[in-house]
């Protein structure tokens, strides 16, 4: 095994066929277990021994976590849907176009072939694209727990750094996204030093066109704090208005009250604030609508 320096500690492995079995396996390990889907964040964490569970419960055998389908006004995206599928799945491209817009910025192509939307949203890395897009789209997370299934709106789902409404032993099974229609517009962008790097600041927005103005504006930023952040003040400025130069400038000023970034080793808070304003301007200038 080579030098043996970046290897996971020994663990047992199961691939349950039902949610009931998955929960039972987790309980049998008395919580000393991790669920794995695509594993693109978990496997390196295991290799670096940031985590060392006794048991890995592979979600790949759970059919309930698969598939993308329209359920009335909502698009149900199974948690095991891979990042790359957001670029090819017609239902996602049509009804959750923000995911397709964000996907090219998520890591690198080979990671996108393997990583899953559910895994990304369950991990809730504050610098990650897809979790923030759940917030921008107003999605609901469907979670399986001891009491059965429940749904948690994105606004309540993200709680703190890597902390979500998912309790230990619970499983994110699907993302329910309000289906975008012909009146919606959206935009995604991020500012990163290199392609595929974590963004210094990123964000996405959804809105409906109502006459010349925007309605139901939702803007979510990432890499600006411990969780993805709604830009509620900027949204309020834009509500009912056309995104013209005056509205954009006003929204950019309002944005300062929406975020509270910290200084870190690479980027001072003041730079992140500046980049967030730049980013919001770009989002509003590039709003896309259905073809």
């Amino acid at each position: 095994m080579g030098r043996g320096v970046v290897k996971a500690r020994a663990f047992a492995y199961v691939r349950p066929r039902t949610l009931k079995e998955a929960h039972a396996a987790f309980d049998a390990a008395q919580g000393d277990a991790s669920f794995i889907s695509g594993g693109q964040s978990l496997v390196p964490a295991l290799a670096m021994r940031l985590q060392a569970p006794q048991l890995l419960v592979d979600l790949a055998g759970l059919d309930q976590l698969r598939g993308v389908r329209l359920e009335g006004e909502t698009l149900r995206i199974g948690a095991l849907t891979r990042h790359a599928e957001t670029l090819t799945e017609p239902l996602i491209r049509r009804h959750a176009p923000l995911l397709a817009a964000a996907a090219p910025f998520v890591a690198h192509p080979a990671i996108r072939n393997r990583g899953t939307l559910g895994g990304s949203v369950a991990l809730a890395d504050p610098a990650s694209e897809f979790p923030a897009m759940m917030l921008a789209m107003g999605a609901q997370m469907e979670i399986s727990g001891p009491e059965g299934l429940r749904r948690v709106p994105a606004d309540e789902y993200f709680q703190d750094l890597y902390q979500t409404a998912i309790a230990p032993g619970e499983i994110l099974i699907a993302l329910h996204v309000p289906a975008a229609g012909s009146s919606h517009c959206w935009a995604f962008d991020e500012l990163a030093r290199r392609r595929g790097d974590y963004a210094m600041v990123g964000g996405g927005m959804m809105a409906e066109r109502a006459g010349d103005g925007l309605r139901g504006v939702r803007i979510a930023l990432f890499s600006v704090g411990p969780t993805p952040v709604r830009a509620r003040r900027a949204e309020a400025v834009l509500e009912g208005r056309a995104p013209d130069a005056a509205a954009i400038a006003e929204a950019q000023r309002a944005l300062d009250g929406d975020i509270d970034p910290m200084d870190d080793a690479e980027i001072p808070a003041s730079l992140r604030r500046h980049l967030a304003r730049v980013l919001l301007g770009r989002l509003l200038a590039k709003l896309e609508a259905p073809q």
Partner: protein, 167 residues
Amino acid sequence: MTMTAPGPVPLALTVNGSPLARMVAPRTTLADFLRTELELTATHVGCEMGACGACLVLLDGVPVHSCLVFAVQAEGQQVETVEGLVARGALARLQDAFHARNALQCGFCTPGMLVNAHALLERGGVPDREEIRDALSGNYCRCTGYEAIVDAIEAAARAERGEGGAR
């Protein structure tokens, strides 16, 4: 479903077209399984955390980092390594172009580059240089500065379409 111990468990999968069955410890990555158990050492292990791209293989036809997949997760799936791609001649044009353009120096990153380049060319057409760079954005090369690699992939794509060889 029964609780397994951390010791070896049965694994059945297809590697380079051949079905095979082995016992494997769950902690073994697909990369280590290929290299140590099957002695398929074209798959290189660099960073072991999905950053360098030297370990790319095709899993059910798409490039993935074999260091970020445990072998047990590949149960029932099709794995294709550089050895398999070479054996069926799928890399011939890329190999010619890499050679002609000196698109490698130490060669450590080359298998990963070839797997990604192969997947890119399988999409058909001649990708532009920006697309090639994007496709390789997860592949580190510390020798060449990438320019020759992008040249070689572009040349191979043109050769595929009969537009002349490496430039």
